[in-house]
Structure formats: C-alpha cells, structure tokens
C-alpha cells in the first residue's frame, strides 16, 4: 500500500474551491539582482560591516604609523603602498572566505538557495562581488597611501615621490585578487569559516616555510619550487617585474592552488545537501 499514490479527494466532490486569481508566471531573477542582494549581504551585519570598514581603518592606521614612525625624508609612495598593502593581504582573503562560508556557518544558505535554486548563480554573484571589492579596496588603500605621501611632503617640505608605475600597481592588485580567490576557493571547499581561514593561513604562512626548508636541503626543489608553489611567484608580483617563465609559473600554480580547489569546491556546493 505504501506505493499507492494518495490523492485525497474533496469530501463531497464539490468542495467550493474558489480558484485563486489568474497568475502570470513571474519573470526569472536577473543576475544583476542576485549581485545586488549578495553585495548587500556582505555589509548588512555588524561583522560584515566592520570587516569592510577595516579596509579603510587599516589603511589609515598603516599610513599614519608610517608617517609617525618612518624616516620622513626617505618616505616615497612605494613605502606607503607597502605599508597599506600588508593589512590588505590579510583582510581581503578573509572577505573572500567569509563571503562563502557565512552562508553555511549562519545557515542562511537554506533561504538563499530556496529563493535562488541555481546555486551556481549565487556563487557566481559572490565571486564577482569579491573581485570587485578587492579592486575597489586596493584603490581605496592606495588612495589613503597617496594622501599619506602628500602629507609627508607637506611636513618635510620636499616634493612627493611617486615611484609606483601603473604596471606595478596592476601587479599588486592581481596579487591581492589571487589571494582573495584562494580564500574564496577554500571557503567553497570547506564551507566552514574557521576551517577555511585556518586553511588559508596554512597555505599562505606555513607552506612557504616548509617549501623554504625543503629548498635548503633539496636542490631540485630549490630550482623547481616555482612550478608548484603559488606563493613564490605570487609574492614576486608585489615588487618585481616577472619574466616570461615566472608568468607561466604563476599561471600553472594558480591552476593548481586556486582553480582546482575552486572547481572541486563548486562541485561540492552544487551537489551537497544544504543543512
């Protein structure tokens, strides 16, 4: 009997079911709307708001410290860029991680994916937002650094030194976007904030040490680590121009450390149960 379809009929067969007014099938949800909603969700909690605010706050503090503590006569734009860049390289990947994991940690994924069943579109919107936030944050941070540079020259009375060419700036943005992507990928992979954050720091802080230790004892690794270790080439982006081989290494290691976990994580998100 359990297999029988149970379709309870109205009792007297003529139950007055007033037909609900004629309804038009609603329009599909446009991607831009999902983008807007996901962006809003990154700012509308205290934690989210202060994480975003910390971009500006950290830049201001780093700049102020540079002016106060640095040797003002030697300060150039490059010094400021470096000092605002270091907090960015920590905050931005965290934004990438939390953009994904908060849905699972706070269990909002239940509502999110019920309202937008196409999980790929939601993740896609998050990814676009994260990358845009990354670029905007870098511009903001560099802007704060530029103000610091102007301030310093006003204090010392010398001309400000603008020694960051556009290509270096582009490389710094790229390096930070890669960091964010790595965070985002780990977020997808773990779907758990602490695990993904720890994972990020293991990849970023522990692995370079291990790689260095390995390189000091293993000659082959010293020569070839660039083909496997994302950090080695990614860190080069911050202050040097890359050779062709280094660009290829960057591409390959990005495939290994970013695209692969991103693909696996996406696959897991697409077919896993949302609890």
């Amino acid at each position: 009997m359990t297999t029988a379809t149970m379709t309870p009929a109205a009792l007297d067969g003529s139950a007055p079911v007033s037909p609900r007014r004629e309804r038009a099938v609603p329009d599909p949800i446009p991607f831009t709307r999902i983008l807007g909603v996901e962006l809003r969700k990154m700012f509308d909690t205290r934690a989210g708001f202060w994480l975003m605010a910390s971009i500006v706050i950290a830049s201001v503090i780093a700049t102020a410290l540079t002016i106060i503590l640095g040797n003002r006569d030697d300060l150039t734009f490059d010094t400021f860029a470096a000092s605002v860049g270091s907090p960015m390289s920590i905050v931005l990947p965290m934004i990438g991680v939390l953009a994904v994991t908060s849905e699972w940690s706070q269990r909002t994924a239940l509502t999110t994916f019920t309202l937008v069943p196409s999980r790929g579109r939601v993740i896609g919107a998050k990814l676009v937002n994260v990358l845009v936030i990354g670029a905007v944050s870098m511009l903001l941070a560099l802007g704060v650094g530029a103000v610091g540079n102007l301030l310093t020259s006003a204090i010392t009375g010398s001309d400000p030194v603008w020694d960051i060419p556009a290509w270096t700036f582009a490389q710094i943005v790229l390096a930070n976007e890669l960091g964010m992507l790595l965070g985002f990928a780990l977020g997808l992979l773990f779907r758990n904030s602490p695990a993904a954050i720890v994972g990020y720091f293991v990849v970023n802080l522990v692995l370079p040490g291990l790689s260095g230790a390995l390189a000091s004892s293993q000659e082959w690794w010293m020569d070839n680590a660039g083909w496997f270790d994302l950090n080695q080439t990614r860190f080069l982006l911050f202050d040097s121009s890359l050779t062709n081989q280094e660009w290829v290494q960057l591409g390959l290691t990005s495939m290994l450390w970013i695209v692969l976990p991103l693909a696996v994580g996406l696959r897991l998100v697409m077919c896993s149960e949302v609890k």
């Binding site: 009997m1 297999t3 309870p8 009929a9 949800i29 709307r33 509308d44 909002t108 069943p117």
Partner: protein
C-alpha cells in the same frame, strides 16, 4: 499543487525516505504527520531542492522546484526558522528576500504587520528573537512573495497557544483562497485541528493517507453488557459482524445502530462507545513508540 512520485532518499544503506508518493491539493491544507526522524523534513528538503533525491521526483506547480523562474513568488517555504544570520535584523532578512524576489519595499512592512511583529521588534537582531518570533518571521518570509503554495516544516513549533490559533486561521484562509498548504508536524492534535487531508509517515514510508474524516472515522463500536455472548448473538441476528474479546463486543456498525439493536433485544448495555482499535491515534502511537519500530511491517499490513 505538489506532487511527489516514488520519492526515495538513501544515505548509504539507510532509507530516510522510501518510495513516498502523495499529493497536496490546492484549496486544502495537507498535514504531513509523523514522529521525529520519520522522514518529513527530508521529504520537504527534497521538495525545495536542498537535498537531491536518490530516485523519484517532486513537482511543485507542475515543475521541479529548481525550474521555477522565481520560486519565492510561487512557493513560500519555511523549513527552519532558526536558520537565519543571527546578526541581521528581522526587517533586513525580509528586505533581502523581497529584493531577491523583486518586490517593492512596502511589501516588507505589510508582512511585518501580517505576522504581528512590531516596528521595534523588526529592528532587533534575530539573535535576540524568541523561537516564536523567529517562527513568525519565517512565516512572513514564506508569505512575502504572495505564493500559491506553502511548504512549512513544523511551523507551530515555539508558538504560544494564541500564536498557534493565529497560524491555523492564516493557513485556513490561505487554503480557502485556493492556495496549497503542506505542513508537517509530529503532533497528531495539531494536524487534526488544521488539516483537511492527512499523510502519515513512519520510518520513511507512508503508512496512511486520506481526508481527515476518513482517517479519524472510528472503525466500529465497542459495547459491553452483563452477558457479552448474548449481546453478540443479538447483534449478529441483526446482520452486524461482531467479535467478542475481553468481555466486550466489537461491532462493525455505528453507535446508534448497536444501541438500537441492543435496546430492541432488551439487553441493558453497561458501556457503549466508539472502538479505538485501529484509529489514527492508535496507529500514530504505535509509530512513535520506539519499541514498535521494528514491528512496523506488521503495522503496515494492518493498515493496508
């Protein structure tokens, strides 16, 4: 309208949902009744695409949930009122949902009003909400898009008696306007007072289904007299099938017929009531009794 056909969800060798088929009709409130862990939630999660079915399928308004262009406008869902970001305000949660569905801002105010969340409460963070308030917020989210179908998992949880009354009226109203309501509960009474149709699930399988009247109708009459055998004979003589057990006579007829027959035969009755042998409650109690779990096959035979 919700149609579920041969739905099965297995986790390894464990079948959480086992070949479940039923439908929820427009204009009616369908109660999905079963003890905890019977498979109600899993079935509902598959319905809205959060869990993938092992086999079988579910259609909501004629298509799989994932194929609905803007699901919130057609199907209101409340699976877990606590699954909200604790740091968002109630109003913000509704605003996000309204934006996703493409609804005007006023809709949020209307819904807050509809579920009786005050201005002050809507500005509070959900972390500080009672379960009842979360439940109201969840119902507001479900109703936000003016849907045709409501899928609610244990919506009465955490509501006070007045809240339960309020929700009952709300769902009744929704169904009376032609909407489809599917709500689950592990409390028989709750379903009894609200549902038109009842589906009973136990250990992942459907064990009974039908209109409330059908399922709650008693299976016969229990009568006692000083001499049960004499009473039994008198009833049999009137063409009523009877069985005698424990000094009582079980008759396959309604109360009035049994009473009249006994009176006509001049037999003074000491007790006359509806037999609760295989009634819904009995069946449900058996389902909920942990010790009865493994004898479910026997029970299913009895129901069939």
């Amino acid at each position: 309208m919700i149609t579920i056909e041969s739905l099965t969800k297995r986790y390894g060798t464990f079948s959480a949902v086992d070949n479940v088929s039923f439908s929820a009709q427009p204009g009616r409130v369908t109660g999905f009744l079963g003890p905890n862990g019977a498979g109600k939630t899993t079935t509902m999660r598959v319905m809205v695409g959060l869990t993938e079915a092992t086999s079988g399928h579910v259609h909501v308004l004629g298509r799989p949930f994932g194929a609905l262009p803007n699901p919130g406008r057609e199907v209101g869902v409340l699976l877990d009122a606590s699954a909200q970001h604790a740091g968002r305000t109630g109003r913000e949660i509704l605003t996000i949902a309204a934006r996703t569905m493409g609804l005007p801002k006023q809709r949020v105010e209307q819904m807050l009003d509809r579920v009786s969340l005050t201005e002050e409460e809507s500005g509070r963070r959900v972390r500080n909400y009672s379960l009842g308030m979360r439940q109201r917020l969840g119902i507001a989210t479900a109703l936000l898009g003016d849907p045709e179908v409501l899928i609610l998992d244990e919506p009465a949880n955490g509501l006070d008696p007045a809240g339960i009354r309020w929700m009952r009226d709300l769902l009744r109203d929704f169904a009376d306007q032609g909407g489809t309501v599917l709500l689950s509960s592990h409390l028989l009474h709750e379903i009894e007072v609200i549902a038109d149709d009842i589906i009973v699930i136990g250990n992942g399988r459907i064990v009974a289904g039908g209109t409330k009247q059908e399922l709650l109708a008693s299976t016969g009459t229990l009568a006692r007299a000083a001499e049960p055998v004499v009473l039994s004979r008198a009833l049999e003589a009137a063409g009523i099938v009877t069985t005698v057990a424990d000094g009582a006579v079980f008759a396959d007829a309604d109360l009035a017929t049994v009473g009249r027959t006994a009176f006509a035969a001049g037999i003074p009755l000491t007790e006359l009531r509806t037999a609760d042998g295989a009634g819904l409650e009995e069946m449900f109690l058996e389902l909920t009794a942990e010790s009865q779990r493994d004898s479910l096959t026997v029970l299913e035979g009895a129901v069939a």
